[in-house]
Amino acid sequence: MQIPVEGFMYPNEVELQWSILIVLYPYITGLVAGAFILASLERVFQVQAVKPTYRLALLTALAFLLVAPLPLQLHLGHPERSLEMYLTPHRSSAMAMFGFVYLWYLMGVLLLEIWLDYRREIVLLSQTTTGALRFVYRVLTLGSSNISERSLRIDERVGYFITLIGIPSAFLLHGYVGFIFGSIKANPWWSSPLMPIVFVFSAMVSGISAVMLLYMLSTRLRGKEIDMCCLDTIARYLLYTFIIDFSLEMLDLLQRIYEADESFRSLDFMVHTRLWTSQVIVQILLGTVTPIVLLGLTQVLRINDIARKRVYGLAGCLTMIGIFAMRWNVVIGGQLFSKSFLGYTTYKMAFATREGLLTAIALMILPFVILWVLVKLLPPWPESASSPSSDVVPAHGTS
């Protein structure tokens, strides 16, 4: 397979090292972090309006987090050796340390929070369900069937504490991914102290957007009424986060253009040619500016509910595409130019191979399949929450 090269590239640079799977990976972990932040808005910052999406956001985060290691495993030359990252982690390697951040976040934060929040339902379901599913619920109870008011209050407190740690953990999760790229001094497209922060904010944008769309879609599918107050609040937070994200990216761009260091000419040419469509058209115009304008319009103009829902839907979809394009531009863009700054190569994406487009599509569909299973196992809908056995109502999660 001859790869077209323009100008000069070091001979070993012509073939890209990291494929579309490595574009998917920060996209997926970004959705996790973003969905979790949205959930924590309600729990920690007491934004009551977004309560209807609390459990859905948590399950969404879990579904995506479970899929996140898959693109990495498929990309490795020796996936059977991947346990080495946990057995002999190299402490100076961001990638190795990330393995533990991921594990911590999955086990210590997300699973724990979901378990504590759902424990009453799990215990009840373990007693009422029949068939094979009953065994699943019984395992999930860990053998304890105590759902007294006192134990639930304790769960509440522990859960609050977990969420409190969870917020910086979510930032750490995706900030670390940003650092994996941002700490590579050899690559001027990646090397930047802003990278972790840009990644975190774009993660929040994509995660909030994903939960918003899922909420709209799932409510529609269940034939229920969308809580417009909830939706408006989510959209507002999406707008605020977007503005910060856009400002950060523009700041990076302006600084690069102004300082115009050795790499600038080469990178500038790359953006104007190979990355024109994916960066300028898709990421910036369609994926950032348009959603910001649309969301901004809903804040300053009076628009009726139906139209507003359509605007949110459109803005949400464009955002999801735009943030994917951002990951593409970072990962693929960072490998298209030569470190000699004298040439460019091309990314030849395969279709049906281990690292091809088909695999990427399958990996993007998988989290929704898992989410569907989770939603059946642990329904997050407000009306499915179990009614309290006494007068005391736990402060959140059920409404």
Binding site: M9, Q17, G77, M85, K339, S340, L342
Partner: protein, 242 residues
Amino acid sequence: MDITRRRLLVLLPAAAVAWRYVLAGTPEASPNYRLTEHWWGMLIDIPKCIGCGSCVRACAEENDVPEGYYRTWIERYHVLDWPVERPEVESPNGGKYGFPPRAEDGKNFFVPKLCNHCAESPCTQVCPVGATFVSPDGVVLVDKNYCLGCRYCVQACPYGCRFINPKTKTAEKCTLCYHRITKGLTTACCEVCPTGARQLADLKNPKDPIHEFLRTHTVQVLKPHMATGAKVFYNGMDGSVR
């Protein structure tokens, strides 16, 4: 001694652990070679390089380098007067089969490149499992039985000297012919270089003639601003070399 059940419960695990050490063997070393007595590097004398490609071919043969990948390669520079940062560079098949004849004015020269065996190696820094490392004698090596093939090291190398071997699916690069230099020979590339443009250097050996050369000539490393502690020194290197 009576082998009671209790004693056996203690003895057996202890014996199992001890047996593992027996199986592992003692770390092998060439009888006269002491790791701490050497600190390897290389000198590339640019005015001497004739771009014959012997080094690239010899390296490929000595180390079974797959076609299309390069542990070492040669770049041909054609430098215009201005700007100096944008020379015309070519490296057809890494220079393995020589270069097409060109008759140009201006500044033209060849630059052999290889792994710089950095003392502060960025590729070693990012390896998640410790599959690539700086040996005690200053050679950056890859443990191909431990490497995951994650390619992080390839991204982290500023010089583009690493690649993934398509057969072993692990990271690979110049080993400074470690299997030769630990036996008192020189690297394959230095052996076949007809003009002495490439010469192995042992920076810890006071009798090494390259020491004297480094002290008395103007030498540079590639991309000094990266602060990698590169140990491949270039004599007579033009500012246009990328």
